[in-house]
């Protein structure tokens, strides 16, 4: 599994099983071999991605799948078709692997991987309600951005922040320029992150893969693939 999202409002957490193309929703606190409370899966659902995010206010689930974003009803169960799909040449979606949704400011941020015949990765910013062949509001991409690929993403609506892990080239075990970057919704073009938590001896990070925010304690929680560990940083200045 390459993503997990906790829905505080409904006390549930959601994951994607990429081998069975399924979105699984579990009750909060699930332990052991308990069944999910809902499964979205089947030929109409056509779950194609490895990651997801949930909008608990508008009751929607977003799944990136390379050149499209599918949106499902949060309470869907069974073989349910998406209610919206962002797709088409104007979207610039080619390798969408990750995303995060802001239900307060109505923003959807999407993370790209690097592709052999394409430039480095990117962050694309859409409106939450976008549908069909729409242009992104902004694209953060280029050498100054430092983005090669984006893994898990989070947003912080009060400050309109995008938080993303940038683990570097996939086949480098210990990539030299990996970091966790924090951009704003207003960023566009080749822009470095406003804040950056780098890898290195001080942070001890090697290959940041996952990120989640704990605003209550002003913490950024990062999972690191190369460490097989989870590191919690106090970062009050971003909250």
């Amino acid at each position: 599994m390459h993503d997990i999202r906790y829905d505080e409002l409904h006390d549930e957490f959601l994951v994607v099983n990429p081998f069975a193309d399924a979105i699984l929703t579990f009750r909060g606190g699930t332990s052991g071999q308990e069944d999910p409370v809902r499964i979205i899966q089947g030929p109409h659902a056509k779950i194609g991605g490895n990651r997801l995010d949930v909008d608990p206010i508008h009751n929607e689930i977003f799944v990136p799948d390379n050149n499209r974003i599918r949106v499902y009803p949060r309470e869907a169960n069974g073989d349910v078709a998406p209610i919206r799909i962002i797709e088409g040449p104007d979207t610039q979606l080619t390798r969408a692997q990750s995303l995060s949704v802001d239900p307060i400011n109505n923003i959807l941020v999407v993370g790209f991987n690097k592709q052999e015949d394409e430039p480095d990765g990117a962050i694309l910013i859409f409106n939450r309600t976008d549908n069909g062949n729409v242009k992104p509001r902004a694209v953060i991409r280029g050498p100054k951005s430092g983005i090669i690929r984006i893994n898990q993403m989070a947003v912080y609506p009060p400050k309109k922040l995008i938080v993303a892990t940038m683990p570097g080239l996939v086949d480098l075990m210990e990539p030299p320029n990996a970091f966790l970057g924090i951009w704003t919704y207003d960023d566009n073009g080749d822009i470095p992150p406003k804040w950056k938590i780098p890898i290195g001896p001080k942070t001890t990070l090697k290959k940041p893969f996952g990120v989640v925010l704990n605003p209550k304690n002003k913490e950024v929680i990062i999972s690191d693939m190369r460490l097989n560990g989870v590191l919690t940083f106090s970062v009050p200045e971003i909250f």
């Binding site: 993503d3 409002l9 009060p158 804040w195 950056k196 989870v230």
Partner: protein, 409 residues
């Protein structure tokens, strides 16, 4: 789903917006104006921005400092036991006769191969060449290499050779008679067959894949060269595609489906979209994440490391359908916890089990049955210290209600 919380009128969405009090009334919401304005004021154009670098130590770190054993191989003639470690990315060699004393912290390995030069990272399969004693290892989700190490390699060693393997390989089996190497590929629902000495970008000799194969998230693989059969364990994560199509994972016309875990059996020379000769599948089989498997040709018994059931299952090699195992090693005395790996030592009449949940390798008689104690244990960490089992954590979540960190693997 908690209906009481769904109908609550006021809640704190702290995961995404602490400080924003959202008033919910039957679907409508509004934001505290003061805090929202503060958030907007923080924005600005940033064309000439220089990043503020946050260089500080983490407040807390969750990490297992001991190995998570994922696969095991034995060469009985040399008393050579090689295990792979998914946590610290190590290949470790022990003497198979080692037995960690109960009060010892761990047993030191004879050698360790580990480091960025090795092309070995999230390793899940291992094989020892019976002649050269070279060690073959498989990476799963993080590296697409199959490196081979010499008998003397240690430390951050460069492999003697390496093969660009498909993404998501898990199981390895060798036909020494024909010098062919069989690999399962989790991400493609396939079995690929290479020359044993394949290297570089060499292509497979043949591939078993397609909608008729019933390969459903394949993991372990074992060969019966006497009866010319391939056995494959499957987790049951299936891809449904049009009959007769090439299938594989996520082809344009396929979709996912949950099936029961299974053992599928094919002719040794199978190629293409072939139906299994027979299948072991059903609730009586007790299969639950069947991982590595081993076939005892003399006894005609199939041993299965049954990861999610903390057990080792044994079937007759010819068992078909919804059959119960003829023996099962399971229970608190066995100390088996999340066993992905198993290897057979025919010469000494033993099986060795990689117990990922206890940092240990456990040895049992091939005839063991029930809740039996291991014959001996090689521990890579202190006794009674549970492994964290964090492997390739691609994401992290936070349960704000319980103040718990959620880590998918």
């Amino acid at each position: 789903m908690t209906k009481a919380r769904r109908s609550g009128k006021i809640w704190l969405l702290s995961a995404v917006s602490v400080g924003l009090v959202a008033s919910l009334a039957y679907g409508s919401w509004e934001i505290s104006g003061l805090l929202y304005a503060r958030g907007q004021a923080a924005q600005g154009r940033s064309q000439d921005r220089k990043s503020i670098v946050i260089e500080r130590s983490p407040q807390r770190v969750i990490k297992d400092q001991y190995p998570s054993f994922s696969a095991v191989a034995i060469n009985a003639e040399e008393n050579m036991l090689v295990v792979t470690d998914e946590n610290l990315f190590q290949i470790l060699e022990y003497d198979r006769r080692d037995n960690t004393p109960p009060r010892a912290r761990l047993t030191e390995p004879k050698r360790i191969i580990s480091g960025p030069n090795t092309r070995a990272e999230m390793m899940c399969g291992v094989y020892i060449d019976p002649v050269t004693k070279e060690v073959y290892v498989l990476n799963n989700d993080t590296q697409n290499w199959l490196p081979v190490f010499s008998r003397d390699a240690r430390g951050n060693a460069t492999p003697s050779r390496y093969l660009a393997a498909p993404h998501g390989t898990f199981g390895i089996a060798m036909n020494e008679g024909t010098q062919e190497m069989f690999l399962t590929v989790q991400h493609q629902n396939s079995v690929v067959v290479y020359r044993k000495k394949a290297s570089g970008e060499e292509k497979p000799l043949r591939t078993i894949a397609g909608s008729d194969t019933q390969l459903e998230d394949p993991h372990g693989i074992a060969l019966d060269t006497k009866n010319k059969l391939i056995f494959v364990s499957n987790f049951g994560n299936a891809q449904v595609s049009l009959p007769g199509s090439r299938g594989g994972r996520r082809s344009a016309d396929s979709y996912g489906k949950f099936e029961l875990p299974s053992i599928t059996v094919y002719p040794l020379d199978a190629s293409g979209n072939v139906k299994p000769l027979w299948i072991i599948e059903g609730p009586q089989t007790m299969l639950n994440w069947p991982s590595h498997i081993a076939l005892h040709e003399e006894r005609q018994e199939l041993f299965v490391a049954n990861d999610a059931d903390d057990s080792i299952l044994v079937y007759r090699a010819g068992d078909k359908g919804n059959v119960a195992p003829i023996r099962m090693i399971k229970g608190p005395n066995t100390e088996i916890k999340n066993p992905p790996g198993i290897a057979l030592d025919v010469k000494n009449g033993e099986i060795s089990v990689a117990s990922m949940g206890t940092h240990s390798i456990l040895f049992f008689s091939v005839t063991a049955n029930g809740d039996v104690k291991p014959l001996r244990i090689i521990r890579g960490g202190p006794a009674n210290q549970a492994a964290l089992n964090i492997g390739n954590p691609g994401a992290v979540g936070y349960d704000t209600k319980r103040d718990q960190i959620l880590v998918p693997n």
